[in-house]
């Protein structure tokens, strides 16, 4: 029988916001290379949990492990857990390609930055933009992108530095039905192709079933 390897693991993690406990001693693991959906109604603390896992906020207790290593106290830029924000947070002063290249050019370590010098960055950006179907849009400013295109760029940007795990905060919210369905299929395909360990926040059961091999319910 094949042994399950855990990529991302939460061990008794508690999360509070404005002094109110939102999540109390939550534990679960995401199998390496697979996608897990975090389901729950609005206000239950799903996005707050993602911010804690990404390192933007701190948990009130518990541990976060990536590939077996405790990253709870690791600074945000060194923990190798990517986050695709619900509202994308694309850098408005950079082009599509420069947004995707950002994590390569500004990697936490000098070695990593050196390894992405020259044409490698260009090739990686082109590869990612091809995966998300925007290979010819690299020079465009992000301000002219449609909602779906911006989501794709945010996804490509999150995947570019090859994070140990990728967190996606309601990646399909706010899209019209046709675009939602098309992007959902693309997203599932991209995550599968890239073999990314992913945790997706959603409040849509069907979305969770389609994208994820496992589900964690909150609230």
């Amino acid at each position: 029988m094949e042994r399950v390897v855990i990529g991302l693991e939460l061990d008794a993690v508690s999360v509070a916001h404005d002094g109110r406990t939102l999540i109390d001693h939550l534990s679960f693991g995401v199998e390496r290379g697979s996608t897990t959906a975090l389901l729950g109604p609005s206000g239950v603390g799903k996005s707050s949990l993602l911010r804690v896992i990404a390192g933007i906020d701190r948990p009130t207790s518990g541990r976060i492990l990536l590939d077996g290593a405790d990253v709870t106290d690791a600074p945000i830029h060194r923990r190798r857990i990517g986050l695709v924000f619900q509202d994308n947070q694309l850098f408005p002063h950079l082009s599509v390609a420069d947004n995707v290249a950002y994590g390569l050019r500004n990697a936490a370590t000098r070695e990593a930055r050196r390894s992405w010098r020259g044409t490698r960055t260009h090739e990686r950006v082109h590869e990612l933009l091809s995966i998300v179907g925007l290979a010819d849009r690299g020079d465009d400013p992000v301000g002219i992108l449609s909602g779906g295109e911006a989501k794709r760029v945010a996804l490509a940007r999150g995947l570019a530095p090859t994070p140990g795990a990728l967190l996606l905060d309601e990646p399909l919210t706010g899209l019209d039905r046709a675009l939602h369905d098309r992007l959902m299929e693309d997203l599932a395909s991209i995550l599968r192709t890239t073999g990314t360990t992913a945790l997706i926040v959603t409040h849509d059961e069907s979305e969770a079933r389609f994208l994820a091999s496992a589900t964690v319910r909150l609230g």
């Binding site: 830029h77 857990i81 990517g82 950002y102 994590g103 936490a108």
Partner: protein, 522 residues
């Protein structure tokens, strides 16, 4: 009242700009042209540059401008960051306090640093740079903080999440987004430092900016041609900068725009408290300097100011000087505000015209050049106004006019046209529409304009130093005269008059803070 949709009405609206235009042409354009003609007529156009002191003045102006601007922007970034956290307790208080120095008369700032700095550096480059930084940090805060507040902290978090360190995230995300605001701040601060007069007169010691050199040449050396040449050369450079700057939609002194929700940050509180305290220190030093000399407490300076003095050269009639300054300020506001309202009524309908820029000329014209130009222009019949009592307050009104327009015009232009249409369909005449719709909605801006006009007139020093006579000194002139003399008593009295000037200016500025609930705020 004018509407951009109706050419005939807009045409009539141009009449509203006439009073402002006449003032600016008569007291800025004509005097400056008179200066220019002196320059062209004289052989000094090229010869002046080789005279002693000129090259030094140019070198000092360039060097102190670069240094002052650099120091100001660097010092202003931390409080700008702190005050971009709108959720911080005491945010508005800290913002108001840190803005005060920019509104203070230059001689008050000069006097404050004469009282604060140790004797070894109280005059010279160091003192000038420190005073300029104190004076202009508010520009950086008010220009950069509102833009910084619109940068979503999650954008920086996104950069950090992608591997960027704090410094890399600042350099690669925050700084590029702040760039327009920073460039605006650099332009304004650089302009203020390059054309600085009062601070350098007070603290420059042997060093002089071009502005001070113009004054020295004209008043001390009687070299009118040389002074005119310098003044015109500086005006040309300033005008080019101003037109380029006004032509671009720069970020300037705005509090509008989307503000992202920022979590309160302990470091922001600390920085805001430090900035507030540091702002207050020179003010406190100024007050103390009026009652403390050589380690002893004394009221000798105040006694000199409040009683008939028989000390040679120190006869100061403070009530008389105070009354004159207040009267000048009241007259200046009474002229500048109605003219500014009338001009804004036109300007709101027709922005970015040549006329609009002409009306902003007093912003770019150096006060010293204007003062010298008026002295040259209006010194013979039938226009011999040099000794007229009304000339200083009218010149103050011209100096205040662009600020009044800049305060009222944006508020007026935001009034929805359909409000006026609604009033008109209910039977209101154009005048009634203006009185019952426009005026109530711009009342907050009008109060701000009144406060600004009063403060500008009270502190005006550049042009006034050319226009007042011995029996018509204002508070700033008296401060400079007393602090320019040797002796402890003169110094105590000078700081005392500066305290009085500070107090009346703060009362005037209180008008501007009371009018927060204006149409612009909504």
């Amino acid at each position: 009242m004018p509407s951009s949709a109706d050419p005939a009405t807009a045409g009539r609206g141009r009449l509203f700009a006439v009073p402002g235009l006449v003032m600016v042409v008569a007291l800025v354009v004509v005097p400056v042209l008179a200066l220019a003609s002196r320059t062209i007529d004289s052989a000094s156009l090229f010869g002046v540059w080789s005279r002693p002191g000129i090259v030094d003045a140019i070198g000092f102006t360039v060097f102190e401008t670069i240094l002052s601007t650099l120091v100001t922007v660097v010092l202003g970034l931390a409080p700008a960051w702190a005050l971009s956290h709108h959720s911080m307790p005491g945010h508005r208080f800290a913002l108001a306090v840190t803005t005060v120095p920019f509104m203070l008369p230059t001689v008050v700032v000069g006097a404050a640093f004469l009282g604060l700095l140790p004797g070894s550096v109280e005059r010279g480059l160091v003192a000038v740079v420190i005073a300029h930084a104190y004076f202009n940090v508010a520009v950086v805060i008010r220009t950069v903080a509102p833009v910084w507040a619109t940068i979503d902290p999650m954008l920086v978090a996104a950069a950090r999440n992608l591997g960027a360190s704090r410094s890399r995230a600042f350099v690669s995300v925050t700084l590029p987004l702040l760039k327009p605001a920073l460039l605006s701040a650099v332009a304004i601060v650089g302009f203020m430092c390059a054309t600085s007069y009062g601070v350098v007169r007070m603290l420059g010691g042997g060093d002089a900016t071009l502005e001070v050199e113009v004054y020295r040449r004209a008043i001390l050396f009687g070299d009118i041609a040389g002074a005119s040449t310098l003044a015109v050369a500086q005006l040309v450079v300033a005008a080019i900068c101003l037109f380029v700057w006004v032509g671009k939609d720069r970020v300037v002194f705005t509090e509008s725009g989307h503000r992202s929700r920022r979590r309160d940050h302990p470091a922001a509180r600390v920085v805001a408290v430090i900035a507030t305290v540091l702002t207050a220190v020179p003010i406190v030093a100024l007050v103390l300097s009026s009652i403390r000399s050589r380690g002893h407490w004394t009221l000798a300076g105040w006694r000199l100011l409040t009683s008939d003095s028989d000390v040679p050269g120190l006869q100061v009639d403070l009530p008389d000087v105070l009354f004159r300054s207040l009267a000048f300020a009241a007259i200046a506001a009474a002229i500048a505000v109605p003219v500014g309202i009338a001009t804004s009524t036109f300007s709101a309908a027709a922005r970015r015209t040549i006329l609009d820029r002409v009306l902003l000329l007093p912003l770019g014209a150096s006060a010293v050049a204007v003062g010298l130009g008026i002295v040259i222009t209006y010194d013979s019949a039938p226009f011999d106004f040099r000794s007229s009592w009304w000339l200083p307050p009218v010149v103050h009104a011209v100096v205040a006019l662009p600020f009044v327009i800049r305060v009222i015009q944006p508020v007026q232009s935001r009034i929805p046209e359909h409000l006026r249409s609604a009033a008109a369909t209910l039977g209101a005449s154009p005048l009634r529409v203006w009185a019952t719709v426009d005026v109530p909605l711009i009342s907050g801006a009008i109060r701000t304009a009144v406060g600004l006009s009063l403060a500008i007139s009270l502190g005006e020093f550049g042009a006034t130093s050319f226009l007042t006579r011995n029996d018509s000194d204002t508070l700033p002139i008296t401060v400079e005269q007393l602090l320019g003399r040797s002796g402890d008593l003169a110094r105590l009295a000078g700081h005392g008059v500066a305290v009085v000037l500070l107090l009346v200016t703060l009362v005037a500025l209180a008008f501007t803070t009371r009018s927060r609930r204006s149409w612009s705020a909504s």
